[in-house]
Subunit: 116 residues, 2 copies
């Protein structure tokens, strides 16, 4: 069975080298050789990582035979962002509750103080 | 070498059953038996998924011997959210550029029209 798209994206992101490659690609499209420069890795090793990123839809590659520039593809990351949305609401609510609670504590501590 | 924390989180999220378990836990803490109900899976299989989520810091479990309720732990997801922040800026900028471009196209198409 093929893994679902979101699982493939998360699996691709579960590697620091692949995340570093994505971070480099925010600056703009570039070649595999340029991408490989900051890493202590062989070109085939980098190419393997790029294939994982490409299959997960996180990058696309140009079709020129000699120079196949890598480009970041935001849509896969947006899917991660959309998935996070439900959870973000959860921690925002928790934070609001905590803030209310702290407000109440402060009000109790300074019963005669002025409201700010 | 131990994988870094963010990689462990992404790896744990790269599975639809584990994401479904997290989605259930948004509603509140619950037991393994209750968690297993909607899945066509054995308790040991569910427990294995829970261990992966726990190791990745995505859930915590109560310490009572008989009933170890699972609870979602938002901090790991917030780290994913923080990581996404740099990319979110990128697609917001792209969207702004696209919007400006569309605005310019519309302005060209209606050179004598009124501005809305």
């Amino acid at each position: 069975m093929l893994p679902d798209r979101l699982s493939a994206t998360f699996a691709a992101l579960a590697d620091p080298t692949r995340r570093a490659i994505l971070a480099r690609l925010i600056l703009g499209e570039t070649s595999v050789t340029k991408l490989a420069e900051p890493f202590d890795m062989s070109l085939p090793a980098i190419s393997k990582h790029l294939k994982v990123l490409e299959r997960a839809g996180l990058i696309t590659r140009g079709r020129q035979a000699q120079w196949r520039p890598c480009r970041i593809e935001p849509s896969a990351l947006r899917r991660v962002d959309d998935w996070l949305e439900g959870y973000r609401r959860m921690w925002d609510e928790r934070f609001d509750r905590l803030e209310r609670y702290l407000g109440e504590l402060q009000a109790k501590e300074k019963p005669h103080g002025r409201k700010k």
